[in-house]
Amino acid sequence: MTELLHPRPADPAMPAIKGHLPVLLPVRPPRPVTAAELFTPGTALLLLVLLAWFSVGPVVAQAAGETRTPVALLLLKWTPVLAEGFAFNILISILSMLAGTVLGVGLGVLQVSPNRLLARLAWVVTQFFRNSPWLVLLFYCILLIPFELEILGTTVPFPGWIKAVIGLSLPVMAYMSEFMRGAIQSIPSGQWESAASLGFTRRQTMIEVILPQTVTRVLPSWMNLYAVLTMATPIVSIVGVNEVMALTRAALSSESRTDLLIPMYLYILGWFFLYCYPISRLTRRLERKYAVKL
């Protein structure tokens, strides 16, 4: 009988009490990450990468005799050059994220504006950039923006990587705009009504009541977007920015070793993984922390 009433397995920390309902449980802080949680498909992939890296190198070196440098040494040799390129990827991702976030929050707020025309316009802009291929936007930015601008008689250079930042910030802006619209609309209308009854203007309500509450709602999606953006930065190599992918190509071409291709791409994959994986772990924890608890 008690089993029927309490189908959930009993929590060892919580003695079974008659009439006890999950909704009455106290809110507990998130647990620290356990070992079982750490071993996910993601970490398995990381192990695979490391394994491949260490195994491919020595085998190939043996097969080809003593004259060839082991793959691992070649990777090490190119690491400074590749790291410089990777730093560039990170820089591009951070700057586009900053620009995209600022623009996106503005656009998202406009999407819920009481001014119909303004809201409609913001919606069109959001939908346009959200549904365009990133590479196409990049191409437009690279080829349409001049390489230098004449502002008040002084020439301001406009290097390719800045254009890449602009190109990548457009889709970020659109996604952010959608996140914000969703978050603002998810705030209970009581919040608007209470603020109004306290004499807040719409502007004050938005800035002082609604927007602060959207932060926790948007944060996990925002971090996810950042991880996706970082992994998308190699596409800027196609438009002539010397980031890690372009340099990997150059390094491979310079070595002209057919056995280096797969280990070197795996090596770069590993870097992106190591950078993005902690972000996605943190996102999951934040999601759990801010999830509506029952």
């Binding site: 400074p80 001049p146 390489f147 150059a250 071409s253 057919t258």
Partner: protein, 268 residues
Amino acid sequence: MKTALTAATALVALMAAGLAAADTLEDIKSAGKIVVGVKQDYRPWGYLDASGKTIGFEIDLAQDVATRLGVELELVPVVASNRMEFLQQGKIDLIIATLGDTEERRKVVGMIEPNYYASGANVLLPKAAGVATWQDLSGKDICALQGSYYNKKVQQDYGANLVAFAGVPEATAALANGSCLGFLYDNTWIESQVASDPQWAEYHMPLPTEQLTPWAIAVPLEDLEGPYGTFMHDVSTEWHKSGFLIERNAANGIAPNPFLQEQHDKLQ
């Protein structure tokens, strides 16, 4: 009134100076540097060394141009899809980036004559494949590079099944692991590889080179007839005449190129 007049005169003088500076050669000299678009993934013509420096045959040429002008050299890495746009935009002053001299491209950029290099299409094949003529490639999978001018003919006339990759590393890796029978590419590159690299010991280049195409240095189209184009024409002629190109070709470990020898002999 007088000050206004002086100001107007000064403005006109400034504008005139601005117009005069439309000549790219003057721009380069006054800036003290020439910006050259080069390949960085096309060993041995243009590639990176492990310190991140761009080196190779074409970089030697770019350096020589800068030395002759007495200006500094700035290299900008380019790829086939952006080099001509960069030149049109003014981001670079000169292209020395394995640019094939074709009719269509002559409408877009100023191709400098005489051509500084030439290469044709050939196929790197395993010795065991037993391919003796181009016709033997019919129905076979052949690795190639996206956008190479010779792909079309090999596909249409010889019926080869082309598997196109973005770069040489990808294509050669595919060849080495047996995804395709051979690798269709520049004959000069294949010759240098077969001669120097032990990983190609079991490969050779049995077919006659086809579709020989000259490579050209390119300047902006509007500069082709101007002082800049004339200057580059003189430089290129001098390179052939003095044997500089033959010497640099050998110094970069590239197999001797008959085109260079021919041009050199013609100018003597």
